[in-house]
Subunit: 202 residues, 2 copies
């Protein structure tokens, strides 16, 4: 029955979040007594942690991204991210995990370690240079901002922005974070010129 509980929990947690799912209803749906959950997983948060084990592993995703050109990495990263989060099968557990990590300190430590080890460190190695570590951290934080604003908070106008628009406007910015500003001869006057936007496309 352990697997049964896990399966039901994964589904319910994904759809309804952590708090609103009660152990009793969960147990009922799984056809067992509520106490059995405590027996197997110790507590409700234990069950939740067990569910998350399955869901989160962005490591291999990043490996593919880092393989390509650094110049085009921002655009590819945004596209990849959006694709993942727009797919409920993948995005929902991720959001769930982040949401829980922000709320619960214990899970927060977990996520923090994961982000640092799997994302920041690898990106740092790929970048190289004096500021590599800082740049990697800032890049990651900008991605976190995108995730939180668009998917967790559903804040407008980001929530309903087409992915192409995000890429067009945000990719140059991320490129700057990664590699520094273009040397550039002259400062622009004022108008928001988005010259050569195609240049940032993969």
């Amino acid at each position: 029955m352990r697997g049964q509980i896990l399966a039901v929990a994964r589904e319910r947690f994904r759809r309804e979040g952590y708090e609103s799912v009660t152990m009793r209803s969960l147990a009922a749906e799984a056809g067992v007594d509520a106490a059995l959950i405590s027996y197997y997983f110790g507590s409700k948060s234990g069950l939740f942690a067990a569910v998350l084990e399955f869901a989160i592993s962005p490591a291999d995703e990043l490996a593919v991204l880092l393989r390509g050109d650094l110049e085009t990495l921002p655009a590819r990263a945004i596209r990849r991210l959006a694709a993942a989060y727009d797919d409920p099968e993948i995005g929902a557990p991720l959001m769930l995990g982040i949401r829980a990590a922000i709320a619960d300190p214990e899970l927060g430590t977990l996520l923090r370690a994961g982000i640092h080890h799997q994302l920041v460190e690898r990106l740092t190695d790929r970048l190289g240079g004096a500021d590599a570590r800082y740049r990697a951290g800032l890049f990651t934080s900008q991605m976190v901002g995108l995730i939180v604003s668009r998917y967790l908070l559903s804040a407008e106008p980001l929530a309903s922005m087409p992915v192409d628009e995000i890429v067009r406007l945000l990719a140059p910015s991320l490129r700057t974070t990664l590699l520094g500003p273009l040397p550039a001869g002259a400062r622009p006057g004022g108008g928001g010129g988005q010259a050569s936007s195609r240049a940032w496309e993969p």
Copy 2:
């Protein structure tokens, strides 16, 4: 007694977060019955919302920022933000609010509306141009990323980065989000050149 409840709640919420503070203990500390809280504020989340009313009002902060040059806005915004969040008296309630808004959907709607109306719309007006709304949204999301990564998650290396370093590396990126990439004649080779970093200072 209403004010008394509010005062105690503000203090307790700030120190212990939302969930771990019980209405009963709160009422006891305020010297009233727990039911009185429901009477005045409708519910626990109602009380929480009332507490946040006091704490969150970045509107005037932003007005000052928008008054200055757009070129230097990113650096000033980062400095302002860091100063606010490093002061426990101001930062703690803010973090509390965001944390709660991410966890609880009802409070999330509140924060969403606040962000949009007080930040995104004003910034949009100041920017002008076709992409103004999108740029404002993306800029805000990058600030959110900074807040979440550095203060809510305490993710390294951001958490222990000096503010000057953040400004140096992130301000050019934010400038790009706001105004688009510099026209630039030639693409840089590869080395992370942070030429003319002083130009981004206020």
